[in-house]
Amino acid sequence: MDLGLQGKKAILVGAARGIGYAVAEILAREGCDIALTARSEDSVKDAVAELGKYGTKVVGKPANAKNADEYKAWFEWAIEELEGVDIMIPFTSAGGGMGSEKYWHNAFEVDLMGAVRAVEAVVPTMTEQQRGSIVLIGTTSILEAMGGPQAYNALKASIATYGKQLALHHGKDGIRVNVVSPGPIEFEGGNWDMIKGTMEKFYNAQVRQQPMGRLGRPEEVAKAITFLASDAASWCNGSHLVVDGGYTNRTHF
């Protein structure tokens, strides 16, 4: 199946590691030009250098989603560098945490506004082009109550609602918007890797809850995201795809 990604232009936020980086790698391999960002300058540099081997144009600069002006300027720069944008995926997240009101502000600024500002930065260009694909990232933590009353779960939930609204609103302009909610994903240097090292019992309990007896890998989510981002998913709009190896119990009717 041809994904139709050759020559496409993708903007990826928070793509220096984990799922974001795995998506960048597949897109680059499929022939996309890429502009990516993350908070750390070093990791952006490393990712750009590594992705260069696929021979497409790959550019990157650090940016912080919390800083609205800097973030907006980064998108202007990215669209200019790529001379357009066909695909935009914001992966950036402040992560979990409980016990401080600050976590709500962090989740609002990074998980929610990081996505909202990213969408608003690319929609004018996509509208002009009458073509574009946006994938927003949720989490299985919005589908079932887990991890305690956290800002992360609650604000990630708003992404699912927002994604659907966007899909209906921008469909007429050829812009598709879909949401992917991954379950726990493990990779070297990732959160679950650290949890395995620091809280082994909790980690093992998570693995026992997994129908396939393991956590997911970034590329397993990345392939699903890439499909929705690509023209191969031209009739997928406003969908919410759960990619969790069967981890969540609820039945999707």
């Binding site: 590691r17 750390s40 992560g95 945490g97 016990g99 401080s100 009101e101 600050k102 976590y103 962090n106 070297e188 240097g189 990732g190 959160n191 890797d193 650290m194 090292g197 620091t198 809280m199 082994e200």
Partner: protein, 455 residues
């Protein structure tokens, strides 16, 4: 990139990253704890004979040349507040009483009645006006002098010589009490040199008892000493600590009888990837310092230095006087080994000390005393003295990290007795083990007198 402080090649070690840890400039520490790397002693690469961990002969030599000769840690001064407060502590087959005198000084004498040899008091703490033997009521003053022998007129030879228990050397230093079974022991200041300058800036007298536990461990006392004298085992038995401390960028210093290492805490081991989220144990460090980890905008790799800055700035308002400590001491583990048997992790807000005592008769057993103290902020009430607990190896948890340490020791102790194990094959990350055994050799065989055939 600066060279590793110990001269190792960090790129060749089993690590994922080469990390350059910011450290305090030795020129800036003034009268505080010195931080400059001490010259490495010439210790060779020989194996350390396994038999010294289980042979009764070596145990007997240790008793004769070490335990009855050197200074030993007895207890805490704040357990001896009032005249008559005493600590009764045991070492090998001996037991001593360390007693606060009416004039405020401390004295030490053997915990044994000169009449028929009965113990005057059981091990532990208490307050006494006098020490009366339960057997025939021979009565000793707080200073160990015999005050009363019932029916003295029936002892044709009179009372024992001097009518006194044998006075033993005893000093107080840095909130701890030290004693020696050797009446001719060297001056304490010579013994402890150079650690006064190292440890006094921590002001342990501002810290209160937090834990007081004795565990009978199924290993030789040196098996335990060795276990705490290297960080090489972190990657083996403490996987979770790789998200808490840097087990590779460790500075080792050997001084005369004693040694230390400095371990960066609130750091990520170069053996694992730098995480993007704050690890749970480092989160705790931040909370304990008074920081809100949710507010933290920096990178995980910057937390150590930022905690140092935060504590420096906010310590005084929290009633914590860090003025005599350098910045690294506000996060890091300065870990000292005081010969022969004290391992002490000193931190700005707490001290975790292990006293490792030999069993009286069995070289395959020991007593592992855990003494933990916590800084009492100025103006806060001094907490109640925790109760001493005592149990056997593996009976109860002593915390995740120490359980991990303890878990291995019995199998190390039995494995070392194999015909196929000549001795310990020690690497440079374990230099303190080598240094400790060299000091032990010098005590047992005389300085530099140990030969290849000796244990």
């Amino acid at each position: 990139m600066k060279k590793h402080v110990m001269g190792w090649d960090p790129a060749a070690m089993d690590a994922l990253r080469v990390v350059d840890v910011p450290r305090v400039d030795p020129e800036t520490t003034g009268n505080g704890t010195p931080v400059e790397k001490a010259p490495d002693p010439e210790l060779g690469t020989d194996i350390i004979p396994a038999a010294r961990y289980y042979s009764p002969e070596f145990m007997a030599m240790e008793w004769e040349k070490v335990w009855t000769k050197t200074w030993l840690l007895g207890g805490r001064s704040d357990d001896l507040k009032e005249a008559g407060d005493y600590i009764c502590t045991e070492i090998g087959k001996e037991s001593v009483l360390i007693v606060r005198q009416v004039d405020g000084s401390v004295r030490c004498f053997p915990n044994v009645c000169l009449h028929r040899g009965n113990r005057l008091r059981p091990e532990g703490r208490g307050n006494a006006e006098k020490f009366q033997c339960m057997y025939h009521h021979w009565t000793y003053g707080l200073d160990g002098k015999l005050e009363h022998i019932p029916d003295l007129c029936t002892f044709l030879q009179g009372g024992p010589p001097g009518m006194s228990a044998q006075p033993l050397p005893c000093v107080e230093w840095n909130s701890f009490v030290w004693f020696s079974l050797n009446p001719d022991v060297e001056p304490f200041d010579d013994f402890i040199d150079p650690l006064k300058q190292h440890l006094e800036p921590y002001h342990p007298e501002r810290m209160a008892w937090k834990r007081d536990i004795t565990v009978e461990w199924d290993c030789n006392w040196k098996t335990s000493v060795d276990a705490f004298n290297e960080t090489y085992h972190v990657q083996g038995i403490h996987p979770q600590l790789k998200w808490y401390l840097d087990d590779i960028n460790v500075q080792i210093d050997c001084y005369g009888k004693h040694n230390r290492y400095l371990i960066p805490f609130a750091a990520i081991s170069p053996r694992v990837h730098m995480p993007s989220q704050i690890p749970p144990a480092i989160y705790e460090i931040m909370v304990n310092a008074g920081m809100d980890p949710a507010e933290y905008e920096g990178r995980v790799s910057d937390i150590r230095v930022d905690v140092q800055k935060f504590k420096r700035e906010h310590g005084p308002a929290q009633g914590k006087d860090y003025s005599e400590l350098n910045d690294d001491q506000l996060t890091d583990d300065y870990h000292y080994m005081i010969f022969p048997n004290v391992a002490v992790n000193v931190h700005s807000d707490d001290i975790m000390l292990f006293r490792q005592r030999p069993h009286a008769t069995d070289p395959n057993k020991m007593y592992y005393d855990i003494w933990m103290f916590e800084l009492v902020p100025e103006g806060e009430e001094w907490p109640e003295r925790v109760k001493h607990k005592r149990f056997k190896h593996g009976d109860k948890s002593i915390g995740q990290v120490l359980d991990q340490d303890a878990f291995n020791l019995p199998t190390v102790q039995t494995g070392m007795q194999s015909e196929y194990f000549p001795g310990l094959w020690i690497g440079d990350q374990e230099q303190r083990i080598r240094h400790f055994h060299k000091v032990l050799d010098d005590y047992i065989y005389g300085p530099g007198q140990k030969t290849a055939d000796d244990l």
